[in-house]
Amino acid sequence: MQLEYIGAFNVVLGVLARFWPVWIALVLVMGASFAYKKRLGLYGQLFDSSVGIVGVGICLFWLFTAIFASTISPFNPLVQIPIMKDALPGAVEPQSGLVYLFGGDKLARDVFSRMVYGSQIVLIIAPAATGFALMVGITLGLPAGYYGGRIDTVLSFLANLVLAFPVILLFYLLVTPGIMETPIPYMMAGLFFLFPIIFFSVLFWTRYKKRPDRLYILLGLTLIIGGWVYAGLVFDADPFRIIHIDPNQLNIFVAVVFASSPGVFRIVRGLVMDIKTRDYVAAAQTRGESPWYIMLWEILPNARGPLIVDACLRIGYTTILLGTLGYFGLGLAPESPDWGTAIKDASRLLRSFIHPALPPTIALMSFVLGLNLLADSLREQSMKD
C-alpha cells in the first residue's frame, strides 16, 4: 500500500498547529512577565536583554511542551503502526488520517510524539536531580568552607575523588542492570534524599529556635512532607501511591546526583570561604549567633547569585548527562522516548535514514542552549548590581 504524503510547507504548519497550547501559554506568561517586569526582581530584569528573553522563551517552551505533552502529540510514543516503518516526514497514517509530522522510526513509531514525550522525562529528572545535588552540595559545602580544617580536608578529598572519575566510567559502574539486584542504589538514595530533610530542618531550627509556635509547625511540615517523599522514593512505600519512581529511574537519578553534587560542593565551599571574611559575618559572630545560623541565614543568601547561575548551567549539564546515559543505553528502558535513547537508535541508521535523528538532537540542543543563555544573562544582570 502506498502512503500519502503532505508537502514540506504543510508539515511546518502542522507542527506549529500541534503546539497550540504551548503558544497560548507562552504568550500569556511572556506577556504578563513583560508587563510586570519592574516588580519581578531578578526574573524581571531578564526581560531587559534579548539574550535573556530568548533564554526564558526556550526554557518555557520546553516546560509547557512537557506539561501539555499528551495534548500536543498526535500518537502514543510507544505504539508501533507497522505500515509507517521508516516513513518519511509528512506521511499520512491511513487509519486515523493523522500525519507522522517528522516521519516514523525503524520501529514505526511517530518521531514527533516521541520527541514531545521525551521532554517530559528530561524536564522531570534534570531539574529534580539538580535540586538534590544542590541540597547535598550546600549542606556539605557550608561547613567545609566555614570551619575549614579537618572537616574541609576530608570532604574535599571525597569530592575530588568523585570528580576524578570520568563521568562515563562512573555511569558504567553505577547504572548497570546488575547493580539493581544489590542494595547499593537504595543505600545511596537513602543517603542523598536525607540531605533535603536535614537542610530544611536545620534551616528552620536555627531561625525560629526562640519562637516555638512557628518552629513546630515548620519542622512538623518538613518532617511530614520530607518523610512522605522519602518513603515513596527510597522504599517505594508511599501510603497514598502518589509518589512512585521506577527502580531503574531511581538508579539514574542517584547516579546523576552523585556525579554532580561534588561540583556544587566546590562552588559553595569557595563562595563561603570568600563571604565569611565580610563584616556582617563578623557582626553576627559578635552577636553570638550559632555557626549554622550564620552559614544558613547570613552567608547562603549572599551566595545566591552565583548559585542560581550555576543551577541553570547545571540543569543543562544534567540534560547532557541524561542524553549520554540514553546514548549508551544505560538505565533507561530501551523503548523510552527520551532524547538520548532516540539519538542512539537513530544514529546507528544514519546511512539510510536521517529524519529520525534530527528532531531529538535539535530538541536537546535547543533546551540546553536556552538554559545556557538564561544563565549567561542572569550572570550579566547580577553583575550589574
Binding site: V51, F157, N160, L161, L163, A164, F165, P166, V167, I168, L169, Y172, L173, L174, T176, P177, G178, I179, E181, T182, I184, G316, I320, G323, T324, Y327, F328, G340, I343, K344, A346, S347, L350, R351, I354, A357, L358, T361, L364, M365, V368, L369, L371, N372, L373, D376
Partner: protein, 344 residues
Amino acid sequence: MLSFILRRLGTMALTMLCLTLVVFFLINLDPNLKKLAISQTEMHTSAEQLESWLVNHGYRQNFFSRYGQWLGVVPKQPVTDPATGKPGRRFSFCNDPVEPTFSGVLQGDFGCSTKFKTTVASKLFPALGATGILMFWVLVVMVPISLLIGILAGMREGSRTDRTLSVASIASTATPEYVSGVIFTVIFASWLGLLNGSAASASRGITFYNFTLPVMTLAIYGIGYIARMTRASMVEVMTQQYIRTARLKGLSFGSVVVKHALRNALIAPFTVIMLQFPWLLTGVVIVEVMFRYQGFGYTLVEAAGNNDIDLLLGCSLVSVFIVLITQLISDVGYAFLNPRIRVQ
C-alpha cells in the same frame, strides 16, 4: 615547590588507591560476576557450573586478597585444575605465572582481558596510542581556534563581534558530542558526501576523509568553553591600568593587544585547557563509539559492556591517572606562568 609536587603526588597515589578499590568493589559485585561467567561459558549452563567456573578461575577468593593480587602486594596464586590437581594458568591466552609470584599492577602486569582473549597491556596500550593521535589533532584544532575566538571577543567588550562570538560559544557548549556528531554526519556525510561517517579505517591510516568528522565533533564542545574563559580573562586584562597607559602613550590598538594584553590574558586559559582533559575523556568515549574508532574509549565501552574485569580496571587506572596528572600540571604550570602565585 618540590615538596608541593611531592605532596601532590602522595595525594594522587592515595586517590588512585581509593578509586581503584571502589572500581574493584563495584565490578566484582555478585551480579556482575554472574554475567561474566555466563558470557564466558557455553549457553545453557547450570548455576552450579557457573559457580564452579568462577571458583576455578579464582573469582571466589577473598576480596582483599584478590585486590592485593591485582595491585601486586599479595603473591598471585595459580589456580588448581580440579581434574589433575596441578597448578595451572587462569586463562590459556595470557601467561599468568604457574608459581605464586608478585605480579600485579605495581610490577607492570595488568592482567588478562576476558573479552579480547589477550593480555590487558597488549590491548590497552595500542588503543591509548590511537586515542593519543585523536587527542593530538583535537588539540591542534581546538586550542588555536578557541583562543582566537576568545581574544577577538574579549578585545572590545560589548561590541558586535563580542556579542556574536559569545552567543556562538554558548551554542557550542550546548552541543554535546552525540548531538554535534549526528548533525555533522548528516551534513557532511549524508548530504554533501564530503567526509566519511565512520573512522573505522583510520586505524590503518589517517586521512582527511575519515578523520575530520571525529576531530571536529570532539573539538566543538571544548571550543566554546575555552573561548569563554579566554574572553573573560581578556576582558579583565583590557581594563587594567597598564593597558590604558600603553594606549595613552600612543601605541596602536593592535600592538597593545598583541604586545601587552595577550601574554597576561593567556595564563588563565592554560589552566582551563589542562582541566579540559577529563572532559575530553568522556567525549572521546562517545566519539570513538559513534565513529567506530578503535581507541581507548572504544576499549572502555567494550570492557564495561562485557564486564571484562581486568581490562576495565586498567582503563579506569589510566583515566584517573590522566585526570590527576593534568590537575597537577595545571597547578604547577599556573605557578610557573604567573610569578605572583607562590605555591606552598
